[in-house]
């Protein structure tokens, strides 16, 4: 199967580079034709079709491998083939519009065929004036200024820091946007209130059921600085307050940050016996980051993230040692119960992305090196500061022709025993992603 993956990539590359080029000539154009192209229609539909084969190199000694591949031997590598379809569209009539974005996925891996269709966003938007918009339906709010993490994003699902630019699934909410512009150092003030109900079959995965939650964001563009004050309250999650900012210190140097205070957070802890305990306390999460563009078009993004809701290093060690003991028990006695207990514990703790306290994110991308247009190589790394384990992602992104995008990347995990990236189920991952936009 690995050969199929490699051959697919090679064949695709050859096909793309053998595409006929247009002849070298003076470009001709017809203004009337362009005018026809720009004519506005009330509706629009588009999206992309995606094929993504992935090869996972397994770490058979890791804690999360032992929990996930309980009683299965799939060898040292497993493949996964994903076929995705993104559909998005809109219909706009005067001051009212409807919008939707859906994802369809068909997957084949060692577990067989699987598939799902998700409505990422779908809402009705009313704009009685340029300074007021009201949206109702499923929507992503995406608050915060961070690239990889957003501690102040109180009403969104967390981003995947390995792929932070990917679309997320929204929650059903009623949102308004009031904007006012001024002359002088204060250029803009905008207020965004959100009402988010949680009930049976409505935003159930947001938090506790049968509550109407309220969130708000107050934005200022003051002295060329973006500033946001954010707030969330309601019974589904505890009350939280936030602040973020972004500013260009120089034209090629941007600095941004976020600060979130989460009150009465139920902080979890794992003891040496693999028992989970909870204690309420107020916690602070913060992010500080920069974006820097060099004269030769290398963009650096560096972010420090303190996750106040995360686990301590002792909790992690207790968890990994517990899984280790559970596995030894299974080998000696055949008793699978401790491993099942570990699997349940992992779901609530260390199986999610970045479950611990302090992280550094680094990304460097070079735009069109060696005069290759539409080609962007990049390298990304996420490091857990406490246990010094890390993830390294080299990446090649190329668009050989209009509406076609190819991304090839690897993800290599490094860390010693009882560390976050050392105990993940994979040692490495190779991905080829081909997207055709329409």
């Amino acid at each position: 199967m690995r050969e199929i993956l490699i051959l697919t990539g090679v064949a695709l590359w050859i096909w793309l580079f053998s595409l006929p080029a247009f002849p070298q000539s003076e470009y001709e154009f017809d203004l009337a034709e362009i005018e026809r192209e720009i004519e506005k229609k009330p509706y629009s539909i588009g999206g992309f079709l995606e094929f993504e084969p992935i090869l996972f190199g397994l770490d058979r000694d890791a804690a999360l491998y032992r929990l996930k591949f309980l009683g299965r031997d799939e060898g040292s590598t497993v493949e996964q083939y994903n076929l995705g379809l993104r559909l998005e569209g809109s219909y706009q009539e005067d001051k009212v519009g409807i919008y939707f974005r859906t994802d369809g996925l068909l997957r084949y891996d060692y577990l067989g065929w699987d598939g799902e269709i998700d409505l990422l966003e779908g809402y009705l938007s009313m704009k009685p004036s340029p300074g007021l918009t009201v949206d109702v339906g499923r929507k992503v709010t995406k608050w915060g200024k961070g690239y990889a993490w957003n501690p102040v994003s109180f009403i969104d699902r967390p981003k995947d820091p390995e792929d932070p630019q990917e679309a997320l699934e929204g929650f059903y909410a009623l949102t308004a946007d009031l904007i006012k512009s001024f002359e002088g150092p204060l250029k803009t003030v905008a207020f965004t209130p959100v009402i988010l109900p949680v009930a049976k079959d409505l935003n159930e995965d947001f938090g506790e059921r049968d509550h109407i939650n309220f969130a708000a964001k107050l934005y200022f563009l003051l002295w060329d600085t973006d500033l946001d004050l954010l707030f969330f309250t309601g019974g589904s999650r505890t009350t939280r307050y936030g602040f973020d900012f972004a500013r260009n210190l120089r034209t090629n140097f941007e600095v941004h940050g976020e600060l979130a205070l989460i009150t009465d957070f139920e902080r979890k802890s794992v003891d040496t016996q693999g028992r989970l305990s909870k204690r309420e306390s107020d916690v602070l999460s913060a992010l500080l980051g920069i974006r820097y563009l060099t004269t030769n078009e290398i963009t650096f993004i560096v972010e420090y993230y303190h996750n106040g809701t995360g686990f301590r290093e002792d909790d992690a060690k207790n968890f990994y040692r517990f899984v280790d003991r559970a596995y030894q028990t299974f080998l000696v006695t055949g008793d699978i119960l401790p491993l099942l207990q570990g699997e349940q514990l992992a779901k609530e703790t260390f199986a999610r992305a970045n479950p611990m306290r302090d992280y550094i994110y680094f990304r460097a991308s070079i735009k069109e090196p060696f005069d290759i247009l539409y080609f962007t190589p990049a390298v990304t790394s996420i490091a857990n500061i406490h246990d010094q384990s890390f993830l390294l992602i080299p990446e090649l992104l190329y668009s050989p022709r209009t509406n076609l995008e190819i991304r090839f990347r690897g993800a290599f995990l490094a860390g010693t025993k009882n560390t976050e990236y050392g105990e993940k189920q994979n040692d490495y991952r190779l991905e080829l992603r081909v997207r055709y936009f329409f």
Binding site: E37, I38, L221, N252, T402
Partner: protein, 243 residues
């Protein structure tokens, strides 16, 4: 003798001031001839590679006053919905998938190729540049322009202006080091919205991108009163609704 010298010095100073004023006035006239104060426009951008391969983009742009510009990509499908906002020296890029506007810089290229953000979201020349020197070249003026601040994408411009139409025919863009970054060639005079007569085509080449060309074609320019709120970060995902 002393009085004669002072008179001569005064004459030189007055003529220099007059010359400087002429240059600034010509530059303001160039700006008002290229675009009205508040307008909407549609442009096609074409990147042409040395082997003749080309890639096309269509942009909807709105502009108000001296420092407010917003642009929206209408095509191709891979870029559709991507929009940019400029408020003075502040620039943001909104990508629909990401859903969050990020701060960008004027030298970055939104779509690749020779055009960068500053070319796509250009403010009036007289807002960003002062005229340091003006030369009468018969049918043309040659204006030497210097950026007012370090935040401007090109430190110096050499602008050739046609005397009769008072629009540029050629602009050379230089970095602070004196390096020629690109040359803009203005072509194909056309009248938009009844009275805006200006070049419809700007062709760009660059010694940094040997053999590559970028062509910007104005398809429509229309005077339009726009609300200030249309030029805000919150409104950026909704620029399409202004079409």
């Amino acid at each position: 003798m002393k009085r004669w010298f002072l008179s001569l010095l005064g004459l030189v100073l007055i003529s220099n001031v007059a010359l400087a004023l002429d240059g600034e006035e010509i530059l303001k006239k160039v700006d008002s001839n290229l675009t009205p104060e508040s307008f909407e426009s549609y442009r096609k951008l074409i990147n042409v590679e040395p082997d003749g391969k080309k890639r096309e983009y269509i942009l909807f742009t709105i502009k108000k006053g001296n420092d407010k510009v917003a642009s929206l990509f209408l095509s191709p499908a891979s870029e559709k919905g991507r929009s940019t906002l400029r408020l003075g020296d502040n620039m943001w890029l909104y990508i629909p998938n990401v859903g969050r506007a990020i701060r960008i810089t004027s030298l970055q290229s939104v779509v690749g190729g020779v055009f960068n953000n500053a070319d796509i979201m250009r403010l009036d020349y007289h807002v960003e540049y002062t005229v340091e020197h003006i030369e009468d070249k018969g049918g043309e003026y040659l204006l030497d322009l210097k950026a007012k601040t370090g935040a401007v994408a090109y430190d110096r411009l050499k602008m050739t202006v046609d005397k009769k139409t008072v629009v540029p025919t050629k602009i050379e863009c230089y970095a602070a080091t004196g390096l020629l970054i690109k040359t803009l060639h203005f072509k194909e005079m056309k009248t938009f919205d009844g009275s805006i007569t200006r070049p419809a085509v700007i062709e760009t080449d660059s010694p940094l991108y040997e053999g590559y060309r970028s062509i910007m074609i104005f398809a429509k320019i229309k005077r339009r009163d726009l609300p200030d709120e249309a030029f805000t970060l919150n409104f950026l995902p909704r620029v399409e609704t202004l079409r």
